[in-house]
Every structure is written in structure tokens, then in C-alpha cells.
């Protein structure tokens, strides 16, 4: 019984490229959470699911959502900082 071999460098590269294509489709549709876009990116999604192991798909999807949330938090922090500076508070 042979266990599935780990992806080689080319396999990884192919997976990352499919992922990036799918994610840019999501960006164009202005969707953050993969799966919420309906049928808009179905072709890209299929390629992504084929080229990447399921555990990787889950991991990349989770990371995308986290990164988006982090962006929102950082924007809020920046906005608060500018507000405070405008009011004359110093660091």
C-alpha cells in the first residue's frame, strides 16, 4: 500500500498558481470568503480543487479570510490614529 507522495516543487507551483487565479476571480467578484461567490468562479474553483490537496485548500481559504480581517483591523487602527492626531494628541 503506497501512501500518496508529497507534492514536488512543480506540483506546489501549479497549486499556488491555480489558487492565485481562483482568488483573483474572487477579488474581481469582491468576495472574501471562498464559496460565497456562487457559480461565478466555478471553472477556477475546479482547477484549484484538482491541483491542490484538500487540506491545502482549507488552509489557503482560512488564511485569505484571516488576512482580509487583519486588513480591516489595520485600517481601523490607522483611522483612529489619524483621528487622534487631528485632535492634537501626541504619541
Amino acid at each position: 500500500m503506497s501512501t500518496p507522495v508529497a507534492p514536488s516543487r512543480e506540483d506546489r507551483k501549479r497549486c499556488w498558481e491555480s489558487r492565485d487565479i481562483y482568488f483573483s476571480c474572487l477579488d474581481a467578484a469582491q468576495v472574501v470568503v471562498p464559496g460565497e461567490e456562487g457559480t461565478k468562479c466555478d471553472a477556477q474553483k475546479k482547477a484549484y480543487g484538482t491541483d491542490c490537496a484538500k487540506s491545502w485548500v482549507d488552509y489557503f481559504n482560512k488564511r485569505r479570510v484571516l488576512a482580509e480581517r487583519q486588513k480591516a483591523t489595520l485600517k481601523e487602527v490607522e483611522r483612529q490614529r489619524l483621528e487622534a492626531e487631528a485632535k492634537g494628541f501626541r504619541r
Binding site: M1, T3, P4, V5, A6, P7, S8, R9, R12, C15, W16, A53, K54, S55, W56, Y59, F60
Partner: protein, 261 residues
């Protein structure tokens, strides 16, 4: 003569009253020979410019004193910290694994060469490949400067799937000298514990399962005596690692008679 005049200047009624008063009566004290012309003597304890100036001068003196004492204390503390040696983290230790060629490899095999050791697993999505590429670049740079003094090593945290054949196929994608190590679960666990590497394999995995291993992301620099020197995290750039490793190699002095743990 002036005394008499002073006595005479007291109002007549008062003099008569005083003269009639008995000597021992406290209500009517004998007139003292001091001036009653209205100007009162300024005693030195009343508010005056001199007192105010003295007060301010004392205050300033105290402030200066406290400031200089505090500065001295801070300087003392800094000197202490500068001298303090925190000691090295106790990373490293005995381990017993097998190379991707199936040969045994223990901590004694680290002796004689510098080593950069990275803990990961072959099914890693992107972090392990990135870190291993970074490590390869550092090794190439060190090769150019010092010759082949550094041995890059990859130790798996996923012994269930990472057989020697698996690891051999994996390390081929990276530096040609990259040595892969694996072994039985208990030996891997012992090696990770010695290097304080956290890793969590999901429970009840079967070979053929698709899962990711959560693990701490560092690679460790060990000196030619097999002792720990430094650890580099995900956020250190290739240039930073290269500089630190070069610095460590340049300034290294073999430690005299160390007792091996």
C-alpha cells in the same frame, strides 16, 4: 534720660491704673521699656523676600539632587545589564534518527561542521518550502565565503507519512547538500523535545490521510561542537540570517572541555 521720657509718654490714665495695680496681678503687667510708637519690629520669621528666596533655592536644590541621584541609579542599572550574560537557551540534545538514505544519524554526527536544522514536514503547503529555500540561499552564500562548512538539515515532524523515501524525494527539490532526517514517532518526538520544537499531529491519523501539521517555524544554527548558537524565525530575512551566521562563524571559539549531556 530717654527712658524717663518713654515712661512719661505712656497715657496718664494707664500710668495711674498701672501704679494702683498690685505688683503680682497678671492682668496689668508692668510696662516694658519698648517703643509704642506704632512701628512693630519685623521678626525674621514673617513673610519676606529673603525667606521666599531661601525657599525657592532649597526647592531647586532638592530637585537637582533627586535628578542627579536618579540619573546615577539608571546608569548603574544599565551597567549591570550590559555586564549580565543571560546564558544560552538549552536547545539541542541527543537524538537518534535515520537519514533519507536509511543510515543512522545522531547528535554526534553534527560534530565537526556547522549545521542549520529546520523542522517541518513534506506535505507543507508553502511555509516549509519558503524557509528551506531561504536556508539554501544562506548556505550558498556561506559556501562562497567560508567554503562548505555548513550542513543543512531537514527533520520531519510527520513521521507517519514522511518515510525515508518520501524525505529523499522532498529534499531533492532544495539544496543538493540538504540532509533529511526521519525516524520512529518516539524518536522524532524526542528530537523535537530536545530542540523545543512544538508540533501537533492531529490524533488518529492513518497513512494516506490528508492533514497539515501545526509546528513552530524556526531553523537552528549549531556549532561544530554540536552546541546551539542561534535560532532564526519566519520573519528574519535571508540577508539577516546570512549576516548572523557569518558573524557567528567568524567569532566562534571552540569551548574548552565541555561535558556532553
Amino acid at each position: 534720660m530717654s527712658m524717663l521720657r518713654l515712661l512719661r509718654s505712656t497715657p496718664r490714665s494707664l500710668t495711674r491704673r498701672l501704679a494702683l495695680a498690685p505688683a503680682s496681678c497678671p492682668a496689668f503687667p508692668r510696662p516694658r521699656p519698648y517703643s509704642t510708637q506704632g512701628t512693630r519690629d519685623q521678626t525674621p520669621l514673617g513673610p519676606s523676600w529673603r525667606a521666599g528666596a531661601l525657599f525657592i533655592a532649597t526647592g531647586l536644590g532638592l530637585v537637582w539632587y533627586f535628578k542627579s541621584e536618579k540619573a546615577k541609579q539608571i546608569e548603574r542599572k544599565e551597567q549591570e545589564l550590559a555586564k549580565a550574560s543571560y546564558g544560552k537557551a538549552r536547545i539541542g540534545g541527543p537524538f537518534s534518527l535515520i537519514t533519507h538514505d536509511g543510515k543512522p544519524f545522531t547528535q554526534n554526527d553534527l560534530v565537526g561542521k556547522w549545521s542549520l536544522i529546520y523542522f517541518g514536514f513534506t506535505h507543507c503547503p508553502d511555509i516549509c518550502p519558503e524557509e528551506l529555500d531561504k536556508m539554501s540561499e544562506v548556505v550558498d552564500a556561506i559556501d562562497a565565503t567560508f567554503g562548505q562548512v555548513v550542513q543543512p538539515i531537514f527533520i520531519t515532524c510527520d513521521p507517519a507519512r514522511d518515510t525515508p523515501e518520501q524525505v529523499a524525494a522532498y529534499v531533492k527539490d532544495f539544496h543538493p547538500r540538504l540532509l533529511g532526517l526521519t525516524g520512529a514517532y518516539d524518536n522524532i518526538k524526542a528530537a523535537c523535545k530536545a530542540y523545543r520544537v512544538y508540533f501537533s499531529t492531529p490524533p488518529n491519523t492513518k497513512p494516506g490521510d490528508d492533514y497539515l501539521v501545526d509546528h513552530s517555524i524556526f531553523f537552528y544554527l549549531m556549532d561544530p561542537q554540536g552546541e546551539f548558537v542561534d535560532a532564526y524565525g519566519k520573519s528574519t530575512t535571508e540577508a539577516e540570517v546570512r549576516e548572523k551566521v557569518a558573524e557567528a562563524i567568524k567569532s566562534w571559539k571552540p569551548a574548552s572541555s565541555k561535558s556532553s549531556s
